[in-house]
């Protein structure tokens, strides 16, 4: 369609005529893990509402899951300014899709393919969008309602799976999901499973905060639930006096 999306430096580069070739940078304001899985009626996605600035938990009410068109949800971790820019690209994409007025609308598979191209092409120019994106959705296909869940990261690695987690979630949530995910999870079971993963990340990921958002997408459309916090459990007797038998232990 147009390559200008992928070249951020060519847009009204007022600061001195487009000589702003960006190179691989470090991220500044970063979002945490995103977890997602398919369930009986569609796809469910969750993340915390925090964005860190180095080690500071700087912004605590940030929405990192957004609806895309009628059929998809996108969740983003990594550099938040790049995620905001990706949302702008997706706005342009869905707007031109709508203006075709041909009765078709882009489904999750198409959006995922588009994002993959954007991410991979930026990576090839050593100017990546520093994100891991999770794309989930449901769309009517030849075999009925088809659920879709995929991810793409800053180097262009992309795949589809029944369950996805980014960042720390790769290490902590994916093993849980691999053991407990089933094709026919109800919404309630899926929420419980996702909350189990969110809690483990809260305990073990230094940059996570106790304020979460869960979103779901079904044939009816997308719902992003309001933020909420989870109860944590510290009631292990071994937690109470760990140094008793071994002074100086940690």
């Amino acid at each position: 369609m147009d390559g200008s999306h992928a070249n951020a430096a060519s847009a009204p580069a007022a600061a001195g005529g487009g000589e702003g070739t960006q190179r691989t940078l470090n991220p500044y304001v970063t979002g945490n893990s995103v977890i997602a899985m398919k369930y009986k009626d569609g796809v469910i996605m969750a993340c915390d509402t925090g964005a860190s600035y180095g080690s500071t938990l700087r912004y605590k009410s940030v929405e990192r899951i957004k609806a895309v068109g009628k059929h998809s949800l996108i969740g983003g971790s990594g550099e938040f300014s790049d995620f905001q820019e990706i949302l702008r690209y997706l706005d342009e994409l869905t707007l031109s899709d709508h203006m075709w007025d041909d009765g078709n609308s882009l489904g999750p598979k198409e959006i995922h393919a588009y994002l993959t191209r954007v991410m991979y092409n930026r990576r090839n120019k050593f100017d990546p969008l520093w994100n891991s994106l999770v794309l989930g959705g449901v769309k009517k296909g030849p075999k009925g309602d088809e659920k879709y869940l995929g991810m793409v990261n800053m180097i262009g690695t992309h795949f589809e799976e029944n369950h996805i987690a980014t960042g720390f979630g790769n290490h902590m949530a994916v093993p849980i999901l691999r053991g407990e995910w089933r094709e026919d999870l109800t919404f309630e079971e899926a929420v419980k499973l996702i909350e189990k993963c969110l809690l483990v990340l809260l305990y073990r990921d230094r940059s996570s905060i106790n304020k979460f958002q869960i979103a779901k997408i079904t044939t009816e459309g997308s719902t992003i639930y309001p933020p909420y916090a989870l109860k944590t459990n510290w009631g292990f007797s071994a937690f109470e006096n760990p140094s008793q038998g071994a002074v100086g232990t940690w």
Partner: protein
């Protein structure tokens, strides 16, 4: 590059007085019931030297939108100059004052597209007839976030806990102005890269009000003493609590 480079003292070479002009800075923006108050300290340093002890870090973008600048003095001046220029044209073409959202998104655009070259953390605040008082944070990298209050600059490290504890929604104008002066002066007390005077800009439906709180008029905090003209005055006033062995 990490968050700590927002502190001004990055040139630790043999010439502590050289290097780029940085605004170590404490900047704050709060919404109150009817508008916004922006506040900042006034210290600009080059290395360890205070190049300007009375700088004005709150710059006008339009009649109704101002921006607090932190980070590189040059970068933020250039960004605010460009945005002022764009907004001037925008105002002429649209026939009405620019909205705070447009102004902050222009700041974001420059910050994001030039992210590898800029060190600028900014807080945009203003009032327009559509959404009233608004504060937008544009940190390093070019993220844009609307917030009920925002803090930035190296001095802001000392304010996170304070704001978590003391921030309330729906303050009056007077409460908000007193609050930001207190908050900036507490940061000045602990951040070497912040100091000087506290400047505030209050923006609401009636217009803009600039205020100036000189260093010697700020409240005293822990371990700070009431300033005197001279020891001689203290002695003349009668025996002080002399530390005699």
């Amino acid at each position: 590059m990490d968050a700590s480079s927002l502190t001004g003292s990055s040139s630790s070479s043999d010439a502590p007085t050289s290097g780029e002009h940085r605004m170590g800075t404490t900047i704050v923006g709060v919404c109150y019931d009817g508008g916004v108050v922006l506040a900042a300290d006034s210290r600009t340093s080059t290395g360890m030297y205070v190049a300007n002890r009375a700088s004005d870090k709150i710059s006008q973008l339009t009649d109704n939108v101002y921006v607090c600048r932190s980070g590189s003095a040059a970068d933020t001046q250039v960004i605010s100059d460009y945005v002022r220029y764009f907004l001037h044209q925008h105002t002429i073409q649209s026939g009405q004052p620019a909205t705070v959202k447009v102004a902050s998104n222009l700041v974001r655009l420059l910050a994001y597209q030039n992210k590898s070259m800029l060190q600028a953390g900014m807080i945009v605040g203003g009032w327009d007839k559509y959404e009233g008082g608004q504060i937008y944070s544009v940190p390093l990298g070019g993220t844009i976030l609307r917030q009920p209050f925002a803090i930035g600059g190296s001095g802001s490290s000392y304010l996170y806990g304070l704001m978590d504890h003391e921030w309330r929604d729906g303050m009056t104008q007077e409460e908000a102005e007193k609050f930001v002066v207190k908050v900036v002066s507490l940061a000045i007390a602990r951040d070497g890269a912040s100091g000087g005077v506290v400047r505030t800009v209050t923006i609401n439906a009636d217009g803009v009000k600039r205020s100036f709180y000189p260093g010697n008029k700020l409240p005293l905090w822990h371990e700070e003493l009431e300033p005197q003209n001279s020891l001689l005055d203290i002695l003349a006033a009668g025996s002080p609590d002399a530390m005699v062995q």
